[in-house]
């Protein structure tokens, strides 16, 4: 009986200690860094490239912007590296309004990463469309992914708008 108490108590105490150390060991989004220096975002002039519908999909798209057929601008944000992997988004601006956000890259090394992205990105995109800026809340349970998203979004707004 006493052994059981020790085993359960010891395990719980150990877990609590480890987890509380971990939650203090690094601040919220410290793990997030902007993309490497050599991939600085740039805004491309929309030199008649109206036919090209920009770069959608594909990992590690070059940050930049192109004009779409509908007259909107397609701006690709920086790659934001998070602890779980890189995040990169692409924003469609129509008359300086964010009308669409696409996720080009997301953490997907584990099934759980993918699922976290699957529920977090729609929320983040919804928030973005509503707020029209990068002052959006991160989604709980997806702090890192949210941080990466916001970082990539910031780079779009800094350079593209």
């Amino acid at each position: 009986m006493r052994r059981i108490v020790f085993a359960v108590g010891g395990t719980l105490a150990g877990l609590a200690m480890l987890l509380s150390f971990k939650s203090h060991s690094s601040v919220g989004l410290a793990g997030i860094a902007a993309g490497a220096a050599d991939s600085k975002p740039y805004s491309q002039a929309s030199a008649g490239a109206s036919g090209a519908s920009g770069t959608t999909g594909g990992a590690g798209a070059k940050p930049g912007s192109v004009t779409t057929a509908g007259g909107g601008r397609l701006i690709t944000g920086d790659v934001a590296n998070t602890a779980y992997g890189p995040v990169q988004i692409q924003v469609t601006l129509t008359q300086n309004k964010i009308t669409k956000v696409a996720v080009l890259e997301q953490p997907q090394s584990t099934e759980n990463d993918i699922r976290i992205g699957d529920f977090a990105f729609p929320k983040l995109i919804q928030e973005t469309l509503a707020a029209q800026n990068d002052k959006i809340d991160s989604v709980s349970g997806a702090t890192y992914t949210s941080g990466g998203y916001i970082k990539s979004l910031q780079s779009v707004l800094d350079n593209g708008v």
Binding site: L19, S23, A83, E111, N112, R115, S140, G141, T143
Partner: protein, 428 residues
């Protein structure tokens, strides 16, 4: 306890693996998920440690003793099964919180959509099943053989659960070196099991050519089996040790049961004595001479190389078998106390008398129930009255668990220090 320290260090290493791969724990869902991850890692480590304890590693068998290993295995087994259960529940809960779904729905998603989690789930239920049949209450109702064979499902379970660790475990997905280290750990314990539980016994069989040479009925339901072979002195078995015997005959070949040597080992013959008590020991009494035998061993840390001491041997029932061998072999001043609840259970009476006379040792029989004997015959006072200089003696005990526990307490009370009380239980 260097073994326990090594096990603890390994667990620390596992925690370190988690620590180095986890950026930070930020939300409540994260806390739950990470608690689940830690417990999962520990369970994945612990389950292999449990197998290693049972791998018949010679240093463990000698240094710790089979009975203590088995007890550690049993205790550790309960702990690991709790870890696995908690791991599964916490991961479900944590993922459900993260995904904002219900736990039932999340359980379904986990099992069906996550790679290899279905196999791991089957493994968890297998281990849970093995744990349940090993629990004391269930164990008593099961035949030894049933229990023993159900245990083999743990190997299947470990194999089934292996792949989900790499496929879904965040610590392994990203780190090839963690995968290599983890695999090496599993493989080395796996090969130790193969080597010591399969290759070595077969090699022994080829070398020593064990065969049943004769049976001798000692008492109703108690039979001695003589096992002949060649170069048996190379085994360096000592009185007080046991082998795991696998008789290669119909109905017995699939199980290896531990029986002590009941006589001094000879270069060409060993003797064990078995009480009918279950299917296996029952079938042993019907063995035919000439039957081939695989012997695993010798095991047992009760062996005697100490000399020049006064010794007390305390046997309960069929627990006389290893002590009978020691009684003949031990040097010095030896007293044997033989406790049995019925005169019909007493075996080796003639042999014990012969040995006692030859070496000038004493044998005391304590036969009958407590009521018949007017109190506990193994109380500290009774033992002191029976055995002169009791507190100076080296004591060796063998018998049913309850009797041994009581006897150890009595010996302690009579002033025998703990380190001079040696016993091995055979309830594994």
């Amino acid at each position: 306890m260097p073994v326990l320290a090594a096990i603890g260090l390994g667990a620390l290493g596992v925690l370190l693996l988690w620590w180095s791969n986890t950026p930070a724990v930020s939300s409540f869902a994260d806390v739950i998920t990470n608690a689940g991850r830690i417990l999962g890692l520990l369970a994945g480590y612990g389950v292999v440690v449990l197998v290693a304890l049972m791998a018949r590693l010679p240093p463990l068998e000698r240094g710790i003793g089979t009975d203590r290993l088995a007890r550690w295995h049993a205790m550790g087994g309960r702990y690991i099964i709790s870890l696995i259960t908690a791991h599964a529940l916490l991961i479900i809960w944590g993922y459900a919180l993260t995904a904002h779904t219900g736990v039932i729905q999340e359980s379904g998603t986990l099992v069906l959509d996550y790679p290899d989690v279905m196999m791991a789930t089957v493994a968890a239920f297998l281990l849970l099943g093995v744990g349940i049949v090993s629990a004391r209450a269930a164990r008593r109702r099961l035949r030894y053989e049933t229990w023993y064979y159900l245990h083999f499902y743990t190997y299947l379970a470990i194999a089934l659960a292996f792949s989900h660790q790499f496929a879904t475990g965040a610590d392994f997905v990203a780190s090839p070196s963690a995968r290599i280290g983890w695999s090496a750990f599993y493989l080395s314990v796996g090969s130790a099991v193969l080597w010591y539980r399969i290759v070595c016994p077969l090699r022994n069989l080829a070398r020593h050519q064990f065969r049943v040479t004769g049976l001798n009925r000692e008492a109703p339901g108690v039979v001695s089996v003589h096992i002949g072979g060649r170069y048996l002195d190379e085994l360096r078995a000592e009185p007080g040790q046991f082998f795991r015997w696998r008789f290669l005959t119909r109905g017995l070949w699939w199980s290896a049961n531990p029986y002590s040597l009941s006589a001094m080992p000879h270069p060409d013959v060993l003797r064990i004595t078995v009480k009918e008590n279950g299917d296996h020991s029952g079938a042993v009494s019907r063995l035919r001479p000439g039957t081939r035998v695989i012997a695993e061993g010798p095991y047992g840390s009760m062996a005697v190389s100490r000399t020049g001491r006064q010794v007390l041997l305390l046997a309960g029932g069929v627990g006389i078998t290893p002590l009978r061998a020691m009684f003949a072999a031990l040097p010095g001043d030896v007293t044997l106390i033989y406790r049995a609840s019925d005169i019909g259970d007493v075996v080796f009476r003639d042999e014990l008398e012969t040995i006692a006379q030859a070496r000038g040792a004493r044998v005391h029989y304590l036969i009958g129930s407590r009521a018949q004997l007017g109190g506990d015959p193994l109380s500290a006072r009774q033992l002191q009255a029976l055995v002169p200089g009791l507190h100076r003696r080296e004591a060796y005990l063998c018998g049913p668990a309850g009797m041994m526990e009581a006897a150890v307490t009595a010996l302690r009370a009579a002033g025998v220090p703990r380190r001079r009380i040696h016993y091995e239980s055979f309830e594994f």
